[in-house]
C-alpha cells in the first residue's frame, strides 16, 4: 500500500517546550485514521506542522514522498492537503455557496481569480457539495447565520471542495448534539471512500463510530498521542486494552 503521509522524528519546540517530541507517524493512501489524546497532547500542533503553519524544529513531514519543509501554507493546500480547524473557520460575511465556491475555485492565482470563468463542472460540484453537507436550503444565506453544527458541516464542505487527497479534520464534533455528531461521523466515513483522512477527536463515542468503519470497510486504526509522542497505535479494541493508554487517557474518561 502506498504511503501518502510519512512523518519521521518530528520535534516542534516552543521556547524549549516540546509540543511534539520525536514523533513518527505514517498514513496509507485511502486510510481513515483517528488520532486521540488528552488536551495539550500536541494534536493541533501536529496538524499545524503538516499544513505548514508551524515549521518543525527537527525531523520532517513527507507527503507523497515529497518533503513539505520548504512549502508555505497555500502551496501545501494546493498540493492536496485540506484542513478543518478546531473552531469552525468560515467566511462569515459570505453566503454558504460563496464559501464553497471560493474554496473550490480551481484558479487560485490573482489573475485566475479575477478573470477565470466558472465552468459548469465547477458549478455542479458546488451544488453537489451543498447536498453532501446538507446545506442546500441555506445555500444563499450568510454563513454567520448558520448554527454551530451547520458551520462545522460547511467547513467540511469547503475542505472537500478543494479536492484534496488528504483531509485533516480537527475535532469536528466539538459542541454538537448527539444527532449532529452521528451525521458528521457518517459524512466522514462516506468521504473516506475516496480520500485519505486524519480525524482528531476527543469524544470516545464518536471515535468508536469512526474506527468501526462502514459495513463492508475494514476497521480503521486509532493513534494515541501523549505529550507530543505516539503512545500506541492499533484497532480501537487494542488501544483500549493497552495499559499505558488506560493510565493516561481512557482512565481519565471515567472521572468525568
Amino acid at each position: 500500500m502506498e504511503r501518502i503521509l510519512n512523518i519521521q522524528e518530528l520535534t516542534v519546540s516552543f521556547d524549549g517546550f516540546k509540543a511534539l517530541n520525536d514523533l513518527n507517524f505514517s498514513l496509507d493512501r485511502g486510510e481513515l485514521r483517528v488520532v486521540i489524546g488528552p488536551n495539550g497532547a500536541g494534536k493541533t500542533t501536529f496538524l499545524d506542522v503538516i499544513t505548514g503553519k508551524v515549521k518543525p524544529t527537527k525531523g520532517y513531514v513527507q507527503f507523497k514522498d515529497r518533503s513539505l519543509r520548504n512549502f508555505s501554507e497555500d502551496q501545501i493546500s494546493r498540493l492536496g492537503i485540506g484542513r478543518k480547524f478546531q473552531t469552525p473557520r468560515i467566511y462569515q460575511k459570505l453566503t454558504v455557496r460563496q464559501n464553497i465556491e471560493l474554496a473550490g475555485n480551481p484558479h487560485k492565482s490573482l489573475f485566475g481569480t479575477l478573470l477565470g470563468k466558472k465552468s459548469p463542472t465547477n458549478q455542479r460540484q458546488v451544488a453537489d457539495l451543498l447536498g453532501v453537507v446538507g446545506l442546500e436550503p441555506k445555500a444563499d444565506i450568510l454563513a454567520e447565520l448558520l448554527s454551530h453544527g451547520e458551520k462545522q458541516r460547511l467547513e467540511i464542505g469547503m475542505l472537500v471542495a478543494q479536492s484534496p487527497e488528504l483531509l485533516l479534520v480537527d475535532e469536528p464534533v466539538a459542541g454538537l448534539t448527539d444527532e449532529e455528531t452521528a451525521e458528521v461521523g457518517q459524512l466522514l466515513l462516506n468521504l473516506s471512500a475516496d480520500h485519505s483522512i486524519i480525524v482528531i477527536e476527543h469524544d470516545m463515542e464518536f471515535v468508536r463510530q469512526l474506527s468501526a468503519g462502514l459495513g463492508s470497510q475494514p476497521e480503521n486504526r486509532v493513534t494515541v498521542l501523549h505529550e507530543g509522542h505516539v503512545l500506541c497505535e492499533g484497532s480501537m479494541a487494542e488501544v483500549q486494552k493497552d495499559p499505558q493508554v488506560i493510565a493516561v487517557y481512557l482512565g481519565s474518561e471515567e472521572q468525568h
Binding site: 501554507e73 497555500d74 473557520r89 471560493l102 492565482s109 478543494q162 459542541g175
Partner: protein, 386 residues
Amino acid sequence: MLTRILRQPVWREVIMIGGVVLLLATAIPQLLYAIGQGFRVGLLGRFMALGIAALGIDLIWGYTGMLSLGHGIFFALGGYALAMFLLLQLPAGKLPEFFSLNGVTELPWFWQPFSSLPFTLIAVILIPSLVAAIVGYFVFRNRIRGVYFSILTQAALIVFYNLFNSQQKWINGTNGLKTDSAMFFGKVVSSIEVQWLFYLLSLFGLVGAYGICRWLTGGRFGRLLIAIRDDEPRVRFSGYDPTGFKVFVLAVSAALAGIAGALFTAQSGIITPNAMDVSFSIEMIIWVAVGGRGTLVGAIIGALLVNFGKSVLSEQFPAFWLFFQGGMFLIVVAAVPDGLVGWAGRTWREWEQRSSRKSATYPQIDLDENLHREKTQTEKLHNSGK
C-alpha cells in the same frame, strides 16, 4: 421590453448612474450658477475628485481590511505629476519660474518627460501604483498586517512629507507647485473653460473609478477580498496566497488616489507637501467611515458630504470645523458603525422584511421553529464556552 431591462439589477444601476451623471453635467451646475452659488460648482468638481480617492480607500479598507494612513503620498504623487506637466507648457527654452528663483538653469532630467501629456497621464496612474506595489510587496510578504500596517503607512507618509518639504530646488519645497496661471492648450488653467473641463474629467473619472471598483468587488475576486479581510490566515489554507491580491488592490487604490490628486490639483490651483499632512490621509478614512465602508456608493457620498460640510461650516465658523469633523467621526463610529449608506441599507432591508413576513425566503429563519431552536442552542453553547 423596457420593463424587462428595468428588472435586471445591472441595467437599473446603469440607468440610475446615467441619470445622476446627466444631472451633474448639466442641471446641477446651471442651477448653482442661477442662484449665485457658481463657486460651488468648482467645489463639487474637487470633491468628486476626492471621491475617487475615497473609492480607493474603500477598496483596501472596507473590502480588504487594510487601513492605510498614508494615501496622501499617492495623492501628492499624482498631483505633482500633473502640476509639473501644466507648468512645463511654456515656449521652448523657458523654465517654470521657481526653478530660476532657486538657481536651477536647466530642467532636471527626471522632469523632462513631464512635458508630454501622454507620459504624464501614465505617470499619474503608474508612479503611485508602483510605489504602492513595491512597498506593499515587502510588507505583505513578511505578513505585516493590521495595526502594524497602519503605523507603517503613516511612517512612510511622514518620510515622504519631509522629503518633499526639503527639496526646494527640484520641487519648490514647502511652497509647492502653483498651477493657476499655467497654460493648458492655450488657455489659462484657472479659466472657466479649463476648470469646466476638469470638472467633467472629475465626474467621468469618478464614474470610471466606480465602474472599476464595482467590477473588482462584484465577483469572486471581491469575495476573496472580503475573505482576506475577515480571516486572512484561513485564506492561505484554502490555497490562496494573499500577498499578490493585497499588493494588487493596494496598487489599484494608490492609482485612484493619484488620479484624484491630479484632478484636485488642477482645480485647486496648487499642490504642496501639505497633501501629505497626517490629518489629510486620516480625513480620507473619515469620508469612507461616514459614508459607509464596504459600500462603494457610501465612499462617494461620504467624500461629498464631509467636504461640503467642511466648506459650509468653515465659512460660518472657521474655528470650529475641526471640532465638527472629529465629533461627526465619533458619532458615526459609535452610533452607525457601518456608515450612513450601510445604515440606510440595513434599515431598508429590515423594513422590507417586516412588510413581507409571509414570503418564504430569507425571514424563514425566524419563523421556522426548528431553525430557531438550533440557533438558540448554538448561542447557549457559545455562551457556555466563554
